[in-house]
Symmetry: C2
Subunit: 509 residues, 2 copies
């Protein structure tokens, strides 16, 4: 967050004034989503859904390239299946939406009430391991039937008491990969492969640097042997878990009886994995890149790269200006940026120029181009980049535009990525002293109790109880045990024990 002179911004409050409220305002002014009258559920509006569609398109292509196929499994999970894996059901029991009736009827007072109770209650899927495992058990007989590599794009429901748009909603959209393998090694390899795919996607498309790591036992997916994750740092220095990949061992295959005859003729349990990312990625994208003027869209995920704003001073010139804008749209749309066509909008709405400019700033479009009678005469357009001040204009000859725009989009991507990477590095510190580490998380400014240090790396030999204590007392958790950290030995400042395990502590969403 930049310090400095107070300038007029499109969003009140600014990030510095009130980060959580700023986040809500970015969503509002960019018109990407809205709270619904259904408790804890949101409406994803077209400008936001287009981002999800692009995330889907890119990931879906990558899943298929790595041998996965899509399928679709039921929304409902019978209670009896759900309880087959003990840890799994314990992990989700407090947040299950339960269907108990399959009809409505009028009571004596004429009010509509649930009728026809189900013999067995159905859980609205919070995740699909149990129902997919049940099907896998029918499909797998021999090692020849393995591996099974499936993915599902779906909605899931986890009843949340405190919700926040995109980050934590009762219903959300996601993809869930589910695979079954004949060997432990192959399943483990798959788990890491998908973790790497998510890691690469965040860097390459969302311009978000994320840290790959393993979760501590406390934060593990209920029923998994190992949970791996990617963690990102938001502008308020809090962590956001952006995706997970689980090595489920044989826990779910034992629960659902996914058995096969091995090459050697023995009956064995399959090894399974699951992995997912959700619409939460959109929340992360907002909190990493957006500013006090609204949304900032990373160009490789943007559904609109360029908006052309015709500047009309009189009715007579309108037709000419519109025509030049349309021609330019057509020309630019034929060019590619990052292997996909450049998406261009012309804003012909009957509004003042200034209104339109602010409209598109708030919506985060990477490049704005203004064209009026003067620009047509000079054969130059006035171009502004979302990542620069809105008064920082450049004038570009019209016939160079289709060459320049892809380069400028790339410059914006690199700018966003560098800024986010610098932020992450600047606010990640290594601690070998317990007090200094805890002090790192204390507010420096009484007016802003939420502002703290960031990510604290440290050697760690503590146990689950100590982790829980730190969570309770300081609201910090182990985000992950980073994978890419060089192995070395040191002293855990909490237990004074020698260890090679390094962890990252942070406050988290």
């Amino acid at each position: 967050m930049s310090q400095g002179q107070k300038v007029k911004t499109a969003i009140t409050p600014t990030r510095e004034e009130n980060y959580p409220e700023w986040y809500q305002q970015v969503i509002k002014v960019s018109d990407i989503a809205e709270n619904s009258p259904v408790r804890g559920c949101m409406v994803i509006k077209p400008w936001g859904y287009a981002i999800w569609e692009n995330i889907q398109k890119i990931l879906d292509h990558q899943f298929k390239k790595t041998g996965h196929e899509n399928a679709y499994f039921p929304l409902f999970i019978p209670l009896s299946f759900f309880q087959k894996e003990a840890k799994h059901v314990d992990g989700f029991a407090t947040e299950c939406a339960v269907v108990t009736h399959h009809r409505l009827e009028k009571n004596e007072k004429g009010e509509l009430v649930p009728a026809s109770p189900l013999e067995e209650p159905l859980i609205v899927r919070p995740t699909s391991e149990m129902i997919i495992g049940e099907m896998f058990s029918k499909w797998v007989q021999s090692y020849r039937d393995l591996p099974i590599l499936l993915n599902q794009w779906a909605n899931v429901v986890r009843w949340e008491m405190r919700t926040r748009m995109f980050l934590r909603t009762s219903e959300f959209l996601w993809q869930e990969g589910h695979t079954a393998h004949a060997s432990k090694e192959e399943a483990f390899e798959e788990t890491i492969k998908m973790l790497n795919l998510y890691h690469q996607f965040c860097h390459e498309y969302l311009a978000i640097p994320v840290i790959k790591g393993e979760k501590s036992e406390n934060e593990r997916f209920p029923g998994a042997d190992h949970t791996f994750c990617i963690e990102a740092m938001m502008q308020d220095r809090k962590a956001l878990q952006a995706g997970t990949s689980h090595f489920l061992g044989q826990n779910f295959s034992k629960a659902a009886a996914i058995k096969f005859q091995s090459k050697e003729g023995n009956e064995e349990y399959a090894w399974t994995t699951s992995w997912g990312v959700t619409t939460r990625l959109i929340g992360g994208m907002i909190m990493v890149h957006s500013d006090d003027d609204g949304l900032v869209l990373p160009p490789r995920i943007a559904n609109t790269h360029v908006v052309i704003i015709p500047i009309i001073h009189s009715q007579e010139t309108q037709e000419t200006v519109f025509k030049v804008c349309d021609d330019l749209q057509k020309k630019l749309s034929e060019k590619l940026y990052y292997k996909l066509p450049i998406m261009v909008k012309v804003d012909k709405r009957d509004e003042r120029g200034g209104e339109k400019i602010w409209h598109w700033i708030k919506k985060g479009v990477p490049i704005r181009i203004e064209i009026g009678q003067k620009e047509i005469q000079d054969k130059k357009v006035c171009l502004t980049m979302r990542t620069k001040g809105h008064k920082e204009k450049v004038f570009i000859p019209m016939d160079e535009l289709d060459e320049k725009v892809p380069l400028l989009l790339e410059e914006i991507h690199q700018t966003l990525y560098k800024k986010a990477t610098d932020h992450l590095e600047k606010h990640t510190h290594f601690f070998d002293d317990k007090e200094k580490l805890l002090n790192f998380f204390k507010p420096k400014n009484p007016d802003h109790p939420e502002i703290h240090g960031g990510f604290a790396k440290t050697f760690w030999a503590g146990d689950t109880a100590l982790e829980e204590l730190l969570k309770k007392e300081y609201n910090i958790t182990i985000r992950c045990i980073p994978i890419d950290e060089l192995k070395k030995e040191g002293i855990c400042p909490f237990t004074s024990m020698k260890t090679t395990k390094i962890v990252i502590f942070a406050k988290a969403y």
Copy 2:
């Protein structure tokens, strides 16, 4: 259904022997879907889901081209919203899955039971008019906010007592368009535009001729002023409703208070529409085109156009044969059919050639190519089309393949379309006599009580009560009042009254 000498078929029973059971078997042997252990819900397997993905891709493109945007609305609808439109709630009350609790807990016996009752029960959406209407009412103030043209790809739940895969399942996938307009005319135009889009899609991509028409009051969507539909004829001559487009008038905008200030400054209610197609289209596609050897995929919707089967007689030749197959796959994949890349699979599984051939016949792949040592020497491949007998082979020079394959795919599309059109025409009759019409629906063969005439056209001046009587006594319903019928006057054989209304009666899925 072809009469004639008994030949060995991949599917038992054949269409003639037992059509409903044949349908289940096609689904099974082609591996496109499977019943799940969740009552009334199915699992769509990769080979089936790929068909749905193609349907989505094509329709989504067409919706966007006609100005619609995608959005996402909550899965749950609070009971109080749901009842705002009286006819709507009456129409859906008997088939609603109701969420009443949001937690599970253990009772004294240690059994997991629903806990934490919701203050207000939630309906799992059977359709989204009420929740989307609620949001529209917030978004619309002035005529400038109209039209709103949205679409949603989603899952919906309608609790069905008797289910059949793809045709009638408790949960199904669909798209639902929802639009709001400032004038009646514009909303009506939208309703017909989307009906035409569905009609065109079925003909152009699924190779299914469908009849456009309006539903009678009896069959109308609960809460609509007019329901339009497309109806297709299956091979057993029964009708399948393949898509609907509803003109909702101001019923839902009054229920949800979608009001706006008109250009003239008056407060008016918006005019709304909704329209949808579902995974049922896949059921229709199967029942129109498939045969006694399994699935037949129309090429424009197929996810695999060509399968190449290497014929290996000895280990030594395997490498050479595989290489030729791979090269051919690469070459063919670069060609387009119907504006999209040709999708080619090479089946390298360790199975006998005959097994492989039948495998792909049952899965409905339009073109099979066999390549062995001999074919490589002769520089010719052996090619078979799914729409011809499996022994009807042609030999095509390898270097002509990339030119020939698109033409053959087109030939298959045309063959399927013509066959389905001939079938529809052959079994559609016009009746001006009541007894003859009713006789048309009586079984001719006591062994096959389900075989009947087909579609019966007639002048109709009957009322709802008469319609219900015919449904009860003869199991026939008015499928639609065809739109494209030439207007003329005649006598309704049921009431002896003069009318210009022509309807189609049929037995239906």
